[in-house]
């Protein structure tokens, strides 16, 4: 199953804030920031259970994260990933020459994957070093 033509937003959540102060390399950080909050009605269309890994794709990259139902809905057509290494695989690095990249409002596609693993922060960033 997949959802297309979504808009991806990123931002701070309190869990992500607690996790990053508690240690960015911990599993707690994965649980806090390696997630994607999906609107309740959109989630029903996916026909899956909470916590299923999903692959999010934008024009700028792709990443596998855990799916959750958004507590801050309804926001049909919008998905939310807390700020952090996972979200940053997907964001638009173009700043329109003002210095600040466009972290919010990318077109995105979401699909449930059968194989694939949610990487932790270090593993994820390491892929950038090797590349």
């Amino acid at each position: 199953m997949s959802l297309e033509n979504l808009i991806l937003l990123t931002g701070r959540t309190i869990n992500q804030g607690v996790a990053l102060e508690g240690g960015k390399t911990t599993k707690e950080n994965v649980r806090a920031a390696g997630i994607c909050a999906i609107d309740k009605d959109d989630f029903k269309k996916l026909d899956s259970i909470v916590g299923t890994p999903v692959k999010i794709t934008t024009d700028f990259g792709e990443v596998v994260v855990y799916s959750t139902i958004s507590e801050e809905g309804p926001h049909p057509g919008i998905i939310f990933i807390p700020m952090g290494p996972w979200a940053n695989q997907l964001v638009n690095p173009d700043s329109q020459s003002c210095g600040t990249p466009t972290y919010k409002g990318m077109k995105a596609k979401l699909e449930i994957i059968q194989t694939g693993k949610v990487l932790d922060a270090l593993e994820l960033i390491k892929t950038l070093k090797e590349a």
Binding site: E72, P93, S95, S97, C98, T100, P101, L124
Partner: protein, 442 residues
């Protein structure tokens, strides 16, 4: 007499977000030098104090990467190698500084000037557009205490303080009782403008669910309607015109309004243009009532970083010293754009984690060049660095000054000593400056 084991430090300043709460109480076990209890802080602030205790996530000795693994070295050796990398580089990037105290920041300016490098702070990826807009159209603003005592209309535009500034609502903007707002929450009207029904929106009186990336059009429409113009459109950014008329009535009729805005405006498309029009809207609302605007700054001392850089160089961020004098141009000298064009050859990251917070494509280019990390914690940046210089937590393990989001300077307190061989950011930068000057023959 029984020996005192626990020492309580009062009025501690929380070094997490720009709200800079100054009423914390921290219990410290003096003998073992541990934080054992934190009162009054939010969840994140509490965690920050506890994470300063020695743990597997904390660096205690300088480390140097040798064949893929870190090995412990002495401070002299680490500083020597770090200074060597910096002195030999032609276009070093000095980035971070938002989560440290002002004295260390001014040392950062000195180091960047000595090296002829590029100096940037984390405003470059968060509230940089705010600074650009303020330079273009000015800003009508005030301190948070003023809002607490007087504001009866609070607007959070693209900001979610329940998550990002947890105690802001209780201390300054929503629930708190003020001199002229004796009934606290009941005396205030709260409006949230956000594409999502955020937790802040859920406790607000009015939620305007604007389409993502269309804030500019909405504010532009409001400004025109405020002047009495009948617009052609029936719907602006997903909001029906009738609802906007209602909103304008509320804006005009309040006694003292304030707009708090966050990343929702600065990091979405239109960037500084959003802030530009938000400031113009605030200015124009002053024809009818008192209105002010304040950015919700993220890191606790990012306002300090902008202030310190400004009184040292004239500019708040994205400063290039390559020609011997400071020049400023976000987009040209800002970290992400420099990295995207691959224009640096070494980097010194102070108290920040760009590997987690920059877009992936730019992180790839950051890792291509030697990376020195001044950092107390294990982070994706430090783990991929070539040299790690362990720092003490400013505001927990050393004193210093920090600026609150409304430009009020507050003295940070020291509650305990740093573990291991950790030095403060200021001491580390001072050592680097001395060594670099020696190597450059100055």
């Amino acid at each position: 007499m029984v020996e005192k084991k626990i020492n309580t430090v009062y009025d501690v300043v929380c070094p997490f977000c720009g709200t800079l709460c100054d009423d914390l109480e921290v219990d410290v076990n003096i003998k073992e030098n541990l934080v054992v209890e934190v009162r009054n802080a939010c969840q994140i602030g509490t965690k920050k104090f506890f994470s300063s205790n020695p743990s597997p996530h904390r660096y205690e000795k300088p480390l140097i990467k040798d064949n893929g693994t870190f090995k412990e070295v002495s401070w002299d050796e680490a500083i020597d190698i770090a200074a060597d990398i910096l002195a030999k580089s032609k276009r070093p990037l000095l980035y971070g500084f938002a989560s440290t105290e002002c004295e260390a920041q001014s040392k950062g300016v000195e180091l960047a000037e000595t090296l002829g490098g590029i100096l940037d702070n984390t405003a470059s990826v968060c509230h940089g557009p705010t600074l650009l807009a303020e330079q273009d159209v000015g800003v009508p603003t005030s301190t948070l205490g003023e809002y607490k005592n007087r504001a009866d209309l609070i607007i959070f535009w693209g900001s979610n303080p329940v998550h990002a500034h947890p105690r802001h609502l209780g201390r300054y903007s929503q629930f708190v009782r003020g001199y002229f707002r004796k009934d606290g929450r009941n005396d205030r009207f709260i409006i949230v403008v956000d594409p999502r029904n955020t937790h802040t929106a859920q406790i607000a009186d009015l939620h305007i669910q604007v389409n993502p990336n269309e804030d500019y059009e909405l504010m532009n429409g409001i400004r025109a309607m405020l002047r009495g113009v009948e617009l052609d459109a029936k719907m602006i950014s997903g909001i029906p015109i009738e609802k906007i008329k209602e909103l304008i009535k509320i804006l005009k009729e309040c006694k003292y309004g304030v707009i708090f805005f966050g990343m929702g405006l600065t990091q979405s498309l239109a960037h500084h243009r959003n802030i530009d029009t938000a400031i113009c809207l605030t200015r124009e609302l002053n024809d009818y009532t008192k209105f002010l605007i304040t950015p919700m700054r993220g890191h606790y001392n990012i306002t300090g970083a902008n202030t310190v850089f400004t009184w040292n160089t004239g500019y708040g961020y994205s400063i290039d010293f390559s020609r011997g004098y400071p020049r400023y141009n976000p987009g040209e000298f800002s970290s992400v754009d420099l990295l995207m064009r691959d224009e640096i050859d070494a980097s010194l990251i102070v108290a920040s984690d760009p590997a987690s917070n920059f877009p992936a494509a730019s992180v790839k280019n950051l890792f291509k060049h030697p990376l020195i990390s001044v950092e107390p914690h294990h982070t994706p940046t430090s783990e991929n660095a070539d040299i790690i210089l362990p720092a003490a937590f400013a505001g927990i393990e050393c004193e210093g000054t920090a600026y609150r989001m409304d430009h009020v300077p507050i003295r940070l307190r020291k509650v305990k000593d740093a573990p291991g061989e950790c030095l403060t950011d200021r001491e580390i930068l001072e050592k680097l400056i001395l060594k670099v000057k020696e190597k450059l023959g100055e």
